[in-house]
Symmetry: D3
Subunit: 184 residues, 6 copies
Amino acid sequence: MPLLDLLLEAGNLKKLPRTGWLLRGVPNPESIADHSYRVALITLFLADELREKDIEIDVERALKIALIHDLAEARVTDIPLSAQYYLDKGKAEKKAAMELFIKTPNPREYFRLWREYEEGLSREGRLVKFADKLEMLIQACEYERAGFSNLDEFWKTLDYLHESEFYGHFKELIEGLVKRRKGK
Amino acid sequence: MPLLDLLLEAGNLKKLPRTGWLLRGVPNPESIADHSYRVALITLFLADELREKDIEIDVERALKIALIHDLAEARVTDIPLSAQYYLDKGKAEKKAAMELFIKTPNPREYFRLWREYEEGLSREGRLVKFADKLEMLIQACEYERAGFSNLDEFWKTLDYLHESEFYGHFKELIEGLVKRRKGK
Amino acid sequence: MPLLDLLLEAGNLKKLPRTGWLLRGVPNPESIADHSYRVALITLFLADELREKDIEIDVERALKIALIHDLAEARVTDIPLSAQYYLDKGKAEKKAAMELFIKTPNPREYFRLWREYEEGLSREGRLVKFADKLEMLIQACEYERAGFSNLDEFWKTLDYLHESEFYGHFKELIEGLVKRRKGK
Amino acid sequence: MPLLDLLLEAGNLKKLPRTGWLLRGVPNPESIADHSYRVALITLFLADELREKDIEIDVERALKIALIHDLAEARVTDIPLSAQYYLDKGKAEKKAAMELFIKTPNPREYFRLWREYEEGLSREGRLVKFADKLEMLIQACEYERAGFSNLDEFWKTLDYLHESEFYGHFKELIEGLVKRRKGK
Amino acid sequence: MPLLDLLLEAGNLKKLPRTGWLLRGVPNPESIADHSYRVALITLFLADELREKDIEIDVERALKIALIHDLAEARVTDIPLSAQYYLDKGKAEKKAAMELFIKTPNPREYFRLWREYEEGLSREGRLVKFADKLEMLIQACEYERAGFSNLDEFWKTLDYLHESEFYGHFKELIEGLVKRRKGK
Amino acid sequence: MPLLDLLLEAGNLKKLPRTGWLLRGVPNPESIADHSYRVALITLFLADELREKDIEIDVERALKIALIHDLAEARVTDIPLSAQYYLDKGKAEKKAAMELFIKTPNPREYFRLWREYEEGLSREGRLVKFADKLEMLIQACEYERAGFSNLDEFWKTLDYLHESEFYGHFKELIEGLVKRRKGK
């Protein structure tokens, strides 16, 4: 029963911590699944807003990408930046993704969607990447409000958001986040 | 910035434990967001399979429902069964859901979707409920494999799955799960 | 064996986190039992001081109230403020308390004591409520000293203490706490 | 403000784990305060039952003893059996208790109560010791039901309960506990 | 101050969990540093025994190897087996080790020692590898005694121990471990 | 199999928290084994530097001392300062150390090494004590960078380092640490 195997493996995402927070001293930080959940939620609401501004966006496609974009980490784990210098994370996740998707009803479609995210091949893929970065910053903001420090490095990701094709549409949201951070 | 507020509140789902496991002695159990993530993933793959069997299913709709079905718990928390006897959880979540959805671009649509889940008004809503129960059983199976006991009660949910309109389509999956449990 | 059942259920209070801290990002915060323990201890010492000032106080009564005032949360859990807006916590705890007390040797007496706390019907009941609020502020002070922030909201409870009939007697204690907080 | 100091020190009991469970591999076990809370609760209900059987018992006295019996551990911590062979725990707790009680309104009374527990000088002191042992066994039963093993050693404490002057009164309760354990 | 940087980075080993246990559902498992500590301790005692049997062994060398054998994981993290299929862990750790050792007083010596472990180039290197496997099995035995299951896979490592040049010397120790496991 | 017993007991060092951090509100702080690991690592690198400055140092001896200096805590646990006022920790650890070392191949040698640390009888013993204090300060620095406060008291240990015979050799390292702390 390959699908059951896949769903059990996806359970790893609940157990595995996001290592970036862990290495900066946050005890019991969020899991990869915690993160993926809010990425999908953000993707949903941002897609809604884009549609209202008459930007064409395939919401189903975007949500699928959001849900599977970190699935390979069920095998590869959340390799932190300090390790990516030594490991070809992209290649590893690509291979792991392929082998995981074989257990789904439509391996090819999922691998295509995964590449849209990884390589930015579609607007939907790029939107999920935008949501992925945004989610991390919202989490950084929450940890800082709770009292954790040493998270400045994460905020460099703002540059990525500023240069994104979506920035204009979500400027208010991102500026709101920055303001909250300063207001702490 | 209402959407930012909503996304920050959704962060509660990462912090709040699923109380059913907690009360049975699982230390640091999964969060509500952990659960919601896999519910959405299951919904995705089951919807795929239904489509292949020519069952009409709106995947976008189903995924939206999966992502928001527990959102009200960001305010209401995961009220366990022992408390539901004393509290009108349904009513509370309904009101909280409404107030949360006001912060989204399309409050009415989301509330409509939420009701489809809660009241089983659409095939998509019922599919997410099926996925919600299935996710819980997969998690119970994982905890039991890890050594936790005292989880028999959860398996009564199998009855719900057996009686569902979807059971025929996913019989193999569910029987596979039961077999794994016994094989432990 | 109803009393054994009750004692086992009381074990839930050790497992359930105080959700107020959890939602503000304190990892692994105190349990409800942790809180209840210090409430009882505070009640004991405050009652002593009142007696020395010739204020009549029934210490046995006060301690009993302190020990059972959160017992209903063994079933209802610690419903946070964000949820109380949607749920009738008071009604739920009342019903749960009644059903739990049936398992004790003196259900009526315990329910009477519980109401003294909940409705402020006796000096002893009001003293425990005073101790309950004070305990929360001492805990907030400890978390802040440890580095957690985002807890300002809790300090609004000072108003309650200021207006209490007991404030005059414990002014020094409360001012001492506020001074410690500022001294951090 | 000595009383405030004492209450802050009592906060240590919430942070310190009960080392017996920790050393047998229970992750994040109960705190000393968790334990003390249920000891006090058990004392309360057992005292009620004794009274109904016309056994004279001073409930106020018993509850005071229950609340302070482990207070010295706020300084001394929960020294496990493996350490007691090398350390004079009794002497240490006695001295620490004395120094802590100086911060209360009635140091002598509290020290007297503490000795009633430690040396079994009064029926109330012995009842709290009975409750202390019983609480530990109820917790062992809960951990075993949750799946933890390696706790057989704790059950030797049954011998203490069997030989106690209170055994006859609470035979049903203790036999009920043993039955539950076997029924797991 | 390169050495200070190195010592701070080594702090990561205290924060990073051993992922093998994590993925099998052990909550809050040991850290990499926890593991490394006992590996060094085992190395020490096994080296002693070898010396008594007139096997030449350089204890200083062996201990140095034990202390640095997992140092590269401070950057690379504990890549689990499921990931090693996709990632060249060996190559990554080699490069990370080299770059970390540059911060020590004797980079070349440390890299040489590291290779002795990794490639089995010296008796001391092979002894540490033996100790590394043995440590894992002792930990597996402890987790199983505590109630965790699902750890059978780890015991395949017994084969490695059986085939080792050191097996004859530590047969009693290993058989003792296996007996304890069965006796659970 | 006495050595196996010893290695299993050493596993306690992985489970037992360093109580100093715990009492100041750090959730899930490092274990004793975590600490011991980095003490040994620091000892290794400091010994290297001493050798380069032509200070005679027996590295094997120093590493052995580092690895066993806290072994007695496997039985005695990490007695915090607040408890040492009431307990003769030194005497307890001495006796426990002796009884543990009987399980090793060379009890006398290990007890001799342990005394070199405890009583500062050799340069190697004093170096490990220096490393032990330094390790604690590096950890304090890490916790402070992560956001924890209330750790000023630990920094008094700087005085010990300043007065040590090794201070001149590692002045730069210690000043670097102090600078990092201020730079936070």
